[in-house]
Symmetry: C2
Subunit: 221 residues, 2 copies
Amino acid sequence: MTILAVIGGSGAEGSGLAVRWAAAGHTVIIGSRSAVKAEAAAAELSALLPPGASSLAGLENAAAAAAAELVVLSVPYAAQVDTIAQVREESQGKVFITVGVPLMPPKVSTVWHAPGGSAAQEAQAQLGEGVRVVAAFQNVSAGHLKDLAWEPACDVLVTGDQKEAKLQAMELARAAGFFAVDAGPLANASVVEGMTALLIGINARHKVQGSGIRITGIARE
Amino acid sequence: MTILAVIGGSGAEGSGLAVRWAAAGHTVIIGSRSAVKAEAAAAELSALLPPGASSLAGLENAAAAAAAELVVLSVPYAAQVDTIAQVREESQGKVFITVGVPLMPPKVSTVWHAPGGSAAQEAQAQLGEGVRVVAAFQNVSAGHLKDLAWEPACDVLVTGDQKEAKLQAMELARAAGFFAVDAGPLANASVVEGMTALLIGINARHKVQGSGIRITGIARE
């Protein structure tokens, strides 16, 4: 079991993943800009856990990252640079999973590639070579995550340049109830991030909230 | 029923789609740089059609495009500019479907975005505003297409800037046996094209030949 910091863990996506990881037995620390907000989110999320599960803790971002073995970043793209600056030192030597997607309002259903290739590659550049960045969960709709009985139909595509770091992220995807697929190097994150814009448009046209993607033609153990 | 030109129709992907469209009752003209090669491919593909089906014809690229109501381009990215130059005039006023994917050897499992955003957007720029470009079939593995009994598990994501043109492409995807999904404007083609690099890597890691993607969370009629 791993000690995870979920930076941006008071948001919809981060908090949903945090609950699922805590339910699976991981020690989860919700990170937020404000320790008070982090503690409140942790208390609220702990109430969703089954009886007997260990509860979640809440800390200010830097303290959350410092206390964790693995850091998950789940903040809006607009907040990514400032948030990473808060946890950069505390993340050195660790695996760092980016969940966010660069979207360009108001046309969020049109693909917009981040100047650095992808949000994940920009995170890697900012964090430096001492941090192993992996991108995952970009195509997961936050909607049902907090319902622990919900079984996702969509897959989690995982990209990154270090095999071991990717395997850790894939294990966390499985812990959250997803089928995980190794989707290649971090350079491929631009496609996984961009797919979210397509899914937002598909949601609108099909009048649903949680379309996703699934890889076909492979064995699913 | 539509008169379709499949430019590059002697290749694996183009010929597979051509057979399926001919079997569905469309009139299909195989286009190639050489009329002789086009005719040979058409004769070979006609032999795969069920008894009583209309046969395919073969013509040199420009003549094929001229004779068609709708043009499908299925050539390697490296040949795209030269091939479009051959059919540019003959394609004016028509719907033009790009099937190709820009890949950068030797690392074809790493995403590489075409300088113009995507191969489809580059085709649109070269063809001009008088041609309605749609991107489709990028994620379809050629392997099983010629087996008319084969039922694909993967979806066809269709991107384009004109609704009617997209609907025609979606109808052709259904005629070829696929579930078709409107994936937004042509700007989104970069993601659909790039997904093919991810699938090539997934094929290698899972030791399969035809991984694909499927959209989850929407009604599938």
